[in-house]
Structures are given as structure tokens and as C-alpha cells.
């Protein structure tokens, strides 16, 4: 048997295996634009300070969908784009937008002080929540959420490399989806609508 044929057979059998569970649960498995990470063992909770000075955990948002991502306010590009997308998702959801809590965790707590975070969140949507912790807490929460970040020194300042994934939690605080930076507000909103429908049915 030549290798090409062997590959084809291997591929076919893989497909066969993959199709079996798919066809078995075709009815109930919703299709998402985002990456379905339901059941992931990470990102289960946070314990940080909000831009209003209060302490927050994920479980306080039981009953709401939570869109959570990491960033920093001195970011000129990705973070305002992600926050603007979050704003547009809320708009797209119409009345359901109120069910979506947007949470922004800073990876730059040295510069992102409570007043700065408060102003920054307000500039997008007063309902958004900015969270910060100590350097150690930031390290811990990033690890828990599998978020990479690194300070990159420049000549006069520094920037932060960081993971640009937004996580979506359902009303039971369960992690469900990961949205890439490239995904549009429309795609994200469609996924949230699908979740709302599957959870209410």
C-alpha cells in the first residue's frame, strides 16, 4: 500500500470516528462562530478590585452573561478595538444587551490605577467593569485564565504584549466561548443569541 492511499484511509477512518458523535448529538449542539471551550478547566473565577473600589468575583455575575478580556489602557489599538466591539455587541443584542456584563482586567496595574480605569470604562460604557489587582494578583489571574502578558520596555516607556482573546461566560458562570480579536461584533452577538436561546429552551 502506498503512503498516499494509507493516508486517505487513515483520514477516512478519522472522519468516520469524528462523524459518529457529531451525528449522535447533532440536534443539541449549537454552532458557534467563536471557539467552543465549554467544560474548560481554566478561568473559573477571579477575585479583584473594581474601578469603583469594590471587590468582585465572577460568581457575583450569576444570572448574567459575562464577556471578559485582558488589556491595558495605554494600548492604542487592540484594547480600544476590543472594548468598542464589546459596546457594539451590547447594541446588537438590543434589550438582551443588558444581560451582558463586560469585564476588562488590566495586565498593567502599575499604570492602570483605579481612577484611570474608571475614566476609561466610562468613556466606552458606564456599565463596563474595569478590574485590577496587585502585581501578584495580576500574575495569578492571568495564569488562571491562561492569558499571556509581558512588559516590553521601549526607549521612553513600555508596552504590554498580551493575549487578545475575549471569554464568554453563561448565566451559570460557566466558561463557554473564546472570541478571537478578528471576530466581528455581529459574529459574537450571534453566538450570544444562540446561547440565550439554548439556555432558555
Amino acid at each position: 500500500m502506498n503512503s498516499k492511499r494509507r493516508k486517505t484511509i487513515a483520514l477516512l477512518s478519522m472522519l468516520g470516528v469524528a462523524c459518529l458523535p457529531l451525528s449522535a448529538c447533532k440536534r443539541s449542539a449549537p454552532v458557534f462562530n467563536g471557539i467552543d471551550i465549554t467544560g474548560a478547566s481554566y478561568g473559573s473565577d477571579f477575585h479583584l478590585t473594581g474601578h469603583d473600589g469594590k471587590t468582585y468575583t465572577l460568581h457575583q455575575f450569576k444570572g448574567k452573561y459575562v464577556l471578559l478580556f485582558f488589556g491595558y489602557t495605554q494600548c492604542p489599538d487592540v484594547c480600544p478595538t476590543a472594548l468598542t466591539r464589546a459596546l457594539n455587541i451590547r447594541h446588537q443584542l438590543g434589550a438582551d444587551g443588558k444581560q451582558l456584563q463586560v469585564v476588562f482586567i488590566t495586565v498593567d496595574p502599575e499604570r492602570d490605577t483605579q481612577p484611570l480605569l474608571a475614566e476609561y470604562m466610562r468613556a466606552f460604557d458606564p456599565a463596563f467593569l474595569g478590574l485590577y489587582g496587585s502585581l501578584q494578583q495580576t500574575e495569578d489571574v492571568a495564569k488562571e485564565f491562561r492569558v499571556f502578558y509581558k512588559k516590553v520596555p521601549g526607549d521612553n516607556s513600555y508596552s504590554m504584549d498580551h493575549t487578545a482573546i475575549s471569554y464568554l461566560y453563561d448565566i451559570n458562570n460557566k466558561i463557554r466561548l473564546a472570541f478571537k480579536h478578528e471576530q466581528s461584533a455581529e459574529q459574537c452577538a450571534a453566538d450570544i443569541r444562540t446561547l440565550i436561546q439554548t439556555q432558555s429552551s
Binding site: 492604542p76 480600544p80 484611570l116 516590553v152 521612553n156
Partner: protein
């Protein structure tokens, strides 16, 4: 002699016309608004040049420093790095826009409020090491600006 003068004149005008054409065209320069206490932001624009050249430096009075940065997404990790310059191939529009290049303004002297004008000096250098300086006024757009809106 008269003809010679005419030729001379024509060629002078010709040269002038070429020099004027050599100008890099800067379209829609804008700066992302900041909130009070926010010390850095990005400037964006479209550049095009009739001849190959390179953006090598940006200066501004509005901030302690200005650097040309490139944003890159590697395995869903956002990386931002200073670049030595941005190449402008002849007659090709190069965009400094979210998701690509931007001018990073660091150590802002004041909050950048929507509608404010931020002067930027762009310095270009071609392969003959000839420099061209262009002053532009960048308009401050809202924090939520995704890219320049259609006119």
C-alpha cells in the same frame, strides 16, 4: 537663444513640477482620544508617495515622544514593537491603521479630546538619503473609533 531660454524655462518648470509631485500625500491623519490621566495613544493615517520612500521619524510637540510601532497578532497574542521605519513603495497607499502600523504618542502633554488638533511632523527619507518633512494636523477622534469613517 530664445529657444534655448524656453527650453531652460520649461526644464526649470519641469523640475519644479517633479519636486512638487515628490511630496508624500498624507490623508485623514487622526489620533485616538484619551481619558484624563491616560498618557499614551496612537495616531493613524494613510500615506502615499509618487516615488519609493520611507517614513523614518515622527515628531510632535504634543507628547514627550513619538515612535512608529507595528501591531502583530501571534497566536492570539498582541505584540507591539517599534519599527525603524515604514516603506512607502511608489504610488501605493500605505495605511497606518488599527491592526497594523501606528504612531505611538507617549507622555502626552494633555488629554487628547475629541476635535482637538495634534500637530505631527513626519520625516521621510528616500534611497538617496534625501529627506522630506511634512507637517500634518491630526484630528482627535473618539476612543471608540475603529478606523477612519467614510466621507
Amino acid at each position: 537663444m530664445k529657444i534655448f531660454n524656453q527650453i531652460l524655462l520649461t526644464s526649470i518648470f519641469g523640475v519644479t513640477a517633479i519636486t512638487a509631485q515628490a511630496q508624500v500625500k498624507v490623508t485623514d491623519p487622526w489620533v485616538r482620544a484619551t481619558v484624563a490621566q491616560q498618557k499614551a495613544t496612537g495616531a493613524f493615517m494613510q500615506l502615499s508617495s509618487p516615488q519609493d520612500t520611507r517614513l523614518i521619524e515622527v515628531q510632535t510637540k504634543a507628547a514627550a515622544s513619538a515612535e512608529v510601532h507595528q501591531m502583530e497578532m501571534v497566536d492570539n497574542v498582541m505584540k507591539m514593537r517599534e519599527v525603524n521605519g515604514v516603506d512607502l513603495p511608489a504610488n501605493k497607499t500605505v495605511e497606518l491603521k488599527p491592526g497594523g502600523y501606528h504612531v505611538m504618542l507617549m507622555g502626552l502633554n494633555a488629554q487628547a479630546k475629541v476635535g482637538d488638533v495634534i500637530p505631527l511632523t513626519l520625516i521621510f527619507e528616500n534611497k538617496d538619503k534625501k529627506r522630506e518633512t511634512i507637517n500634518v494636523n491630526a484630528i482627535v477622534k473618539p476612543l471608540t473609533q475603529m478606523s477612519m469613517p467614510a466621507h
